[in-house]
């Protein structure tokens, strides 16, 4: 099953809608900049951050290289500790397994720990179809669920909401599904948290079955680890009788000691905290303590396909910290919904098309382009996923997937430009044609304010520059590399300068040896111009303003 939301348009269209929402822009700007600054401060405190980052990437890479071994070891140790292990190839299998376990206990509701894996397989929707209600207990997930909304961030899924919107949602919705919010609820965070706590406590104490994901699964001990900030996870993991954990197969770590690295990099990268507030670890079943029936569903759902992609497989290192979202200038402006996927932001822009394939739909084909390739995501990633490189790799997959069909205007243009850039002679011809375009476009202002499609996308808000009257290479030839006087951009000289064409055409394409044709000032290339000494460089640029 796809990790994208059904019916989502491609990124540019969804982004345009989000960009037009001033409240959303303000909420996102405030939230991302706050978390960004917190993260930067606590990361700067760690003297060996670079080494931790390298270690995190290396541990994950080593694990992924031997994933088959570690998964079997995990299964063995989980089973030995009294847990039941299930293997799910895809979302449908995982949802079937979970629903069957829940139904075997004859219950109509479950409580949930925040989990990306269960979102990825749309477990709540699958359970609902079987008559089972799944209550999200993470505060932000609760806001999203009560608001009949979609998460817009991996870590803070209600980042797009401000507190007055949260108050309205609580007042309107809580009473429909459980304990209502008090009528005098304010939008003070403490009050909102109090209302959520009372609403959730009723569900925690009643639930017989809980569903979680896991941040880490330790192969050598069969221990699952959940890292959270609110304590709701701890309630779900300890109070109910039955615990079902849906765990992506890339979550395995070989040894207990490997956690040392991740427990340092995860909290600082995600919430900007030095230490994680609630870290729950459990190893199978303990008689008389906690859930007495423990299930672990190991989920593939496209992960082995990602593993087979030598460039893309680094995305499986991801520990879902969201540092890349918080620092991304695109995410900051569009928010998470525009990505049309459970995984938004820069990591989503690679993970979604990697898991589903770039040909799965318009969302998958557009996400690799939803980045300016500024590199801020790579810089902050605690496991050094080179997101820009993977994006470029996926873009080439998108382009290659269309090579057999009717070529697009873009593909035709790119091929033409490739030919021009493979031949200095063609480039010169194109530059001359470009210079001539000055005669018809914007010759008064020196800039272009309207362009035809698709370049109208540029000129809708930005002026475009005109091609120069004389190219740099034209100037170099005419002035003998600036040793003779001459400013670039004098049209009368472009056309009349003696020797320009002949000199030029003797050059580039015959220069396949790679030797420079117009090197130092030796030959008298600049006949006809008033030669000045080598110390006298060319005058300044022509003013194009």
């Amino acid at each position: 099953m796809s990790v994208t939301f059904v019916g989502m348009p491609k990124f540019p269209i969804a982004a345009a809608e989000a960009l037009a929402n001033p409240q959303l822009r303000r909420n996102l700007r405030h939230a991302t900049q706050t978390i960004r600054a917190k993260r930067a401060a606590v990361v700067a405190e760690v003297p060996d951050w670079a080494e931790l980052r390298t270690a995190g990437a290396a541990i994950k890479d080593r694990t992924l290289r031997h994933l088959d071994d570690y998964l079997l070891q995990l299964e063995e140790n989980l089973t030995a500790a009294g847990a039941t292990v299930h293997w799910a190839r895809d979302a449908a299998e995982a949802n079937r397994i979970v629903a069957d376990i829940v139904k075997s206990h004859d219950v109509k509701e479950v409580v949930k720990v925040k989990s990306m894996a269960t979102q990825e397989i749309f477990l709540n929707e699958a359970l609902e179809a079987e008559g089972i209600e799944a209550w999200e207990t993470d505060l932000a997930e609760l806001i999203v669920q009560l608001g009949h909304d979609r998460p817009s961030h991996i870590l803070v899924p209600a980042i797009h909401r401000n507190r007055s919107e949260v108050r309205e949602i609580f007042l309107r919705e809580m009473g429909n599904v459980g304990l209502a919010a008090p009528d005098d609820l304010t939008d003070v965070p403490r009050d909102l948290a109090g209302a959520a706590r009372r609403h959730l406590r009723e569900k925690f104490l009643r639930a017989k079955v809980a569903i979680s994901g896991a941040n880490f699964a330790i192969a050598e001990t069969g221990t699952l680890v959940v890292v959270e900030s609110e304590g709701n996870g701890r309630m779900c993991l300890t109070l109910p009788e039955v615990l079902i954990s849906v765990v992506g197969i890339e979550k395995v770590l070989p040894t207990w000691q490997d956690l040392e690295v991740f427990m340092q990099i995860l909290p600082r990268s995600s919430t900007g905290e030095r230490m994680n507030p609630y870290t729950s670890m459990w190893t199978g079943v303990h008689a008389g303590d906690g859930p007495q029936e423990v299930h672990v569903v190991l989920l593939d759902n496209g992960r082995t396909d990602v593993l087979a992609d030598t460039v893309g497989r680094q995305a499986l290192r991801c520990i879902r910290c969201s540092a890349c979202l918080n620092v991304c200038p695109v995410y900051e402006r569009t928010g998470g919904h525009a990505y049309g996927s459970v995984y938004p932001g820069p990591i989503g822009a690679i993970l979604t098309p990697l898991l589903n394939g770039v040909e799965a739909g318009p969302v998958e084909a557009s996400l690799p382009y939803a980045s300016s390739l500024c590199g801020a995501c790579y810089e902050v990633c605690p496991v050094a996923i080179d997101i820009p490189t993977v994006l470029v790799h996926l873009r080439s997959e998108v382009v290659d997937s269309h090579r057999d069909g009717v070529p697009t205007a873009e593909a035709i243009g790119m091929k033409a430009i490739s030919r021009i850039f493979s031949s200095p002679r063609l480039l010169r011809v194109a530059q001359r044609a470009g210079s001539l375009s000055r005669l018809v476009m914007g010759r008064h202002s020196g800039r272009i304010s309207t362009l035809p499609p698709p370049f109208s996308a540029w000129s809708s808000a930005r002026d475009a520059p005109l091609p120069a009257q004389e190219s740099f290479r034209g100037w170099w030839v005419r002035t003998n590399g600036g040793h003779s006087s001459g400013e670039p951009g004098r049209p009368e000289q472009i056309r009349t300068e003696p020797g320009y064409s002949t000199i030029y055409e003797s050059g580039p394409d015959s220069g396949a040896s790679g030797q420079p044709m117009y090197g130092s000032a030796s030959a008298g290339h600049a006949e006809g111009s008033d030669a000045s000494g080598p110390g006298r460089a060319a005058p300044g640029p022509a003013d194009q303003q």
């Binding site: 873009r395 997959e397 850039f421 031949s423 800039r447 930005r462 670039p488």
Partner: protein, 245 residues
């Protein structure tokens, strides 16, 4: 040392004054830079848009143009980043061993500020530019190449300059090559915030080391009739009393 200028396709075609300024600057510092006319483009637009196959002949052209030099200097962080970080990948994808070897033996390509500070060992280049200037560190020079504070060290030594720090300087301007067209709305939103930061400084000149980013930011500035002009770093560093930028 034989030093070649890689002027870049955008400067060659649209902003030749940036190339001229680079030549003047280097010549003033005693470097008789050569211009191999077989050069065209680094191929970044093709690579970054997904046209890896079409980038192969462009990369080959680059290796042929600059073979035999000791160093290549380019007034662009983005193009230097492409040469240093993408050419190997393009060559590998082509399956052409001779191209892989050619990329390996192509001389090192330096972004202008790297060349000035690291190779020539200068920060005072003898420039004069008595204006209020703010500097935008472009993403690829900062994050792909790691030029660090080299450009601002160079700018601080310019006589007469009033260099003002740009708020949120490290944030992308939103150009991003074909991103500016494919995701124009997001690109413009990012650029508008950058322009707001530029205007908040009261600077009369915005400087940067990449003509591509300056085309985007400058296009927004002139559309808004902001009264701020954009100049490439090379133009400010080349500027003197006799030949002001």
């Amino acid at each position: 040392m034989r030093v070649a200028l890689f002027v870049t396709c955008i400067n060659d075609t649209i902003f030749p004054e940036v190339g001229v300024a680079t030549v003047r600057l280097l010549r003033r510092l005693g470097v008789e830079v050569e211009f191999p006319s077989a050069q065209t483009c680094c191929g970044q637009m093709h690579v970054n848009t997904g046209y890896l196959r079409e980038a192969v002949p462009v990369v080959r052209q680059y290796t042929e143009a600059f073979a035999g030099f000791d160093a290549v200097v380019v007034p662009s962080g983005s193009c230097a980043g492409s040469v240093r970080h993408q050419h190997t990948m393009v060559a590998a994808s082509s399956g052409d061993r001779s191209l892989v070897a050619a990329v390996d033996t192509t001389p090192r390509t330096y972004e202008l500020s790297e060349f000035l500070v690291d190779v020539l060992g200068v920060t005072d280049v003898g420039a004069y530019f008595p204006h209020r200037v703010t500097y935008h560190p472009t993403c690829h020079s900062m994050r792909m190449l790691g030029v660090g504070d080299r450009p601002t060290r160079l700018l601080r030594e310019v006589r007469g300059i009033n260099l003002i720090e740009l708020p949120a300087a490290a944030e992308c301007c939103g150009f991003g090559g074909t991103f500016a067209l494919k995701n124009a709305d997001t690109s413009i939103a990012m650029g508008t915030d950058k322009v707001q930061a530029v205007r908040s400084t009261g600077a009369e000149v915005l400087a940067a080391g990449d003509s591509s980013c300056l085309t985007h930011i400058g296009g927004l500035l002139t559309r808004q009739r902001a009264g701020v002009r954009v100049l490439h770093l090379a133009q400010i560093l080349a500027s003197t009393e006799e030949q002001p930028a």
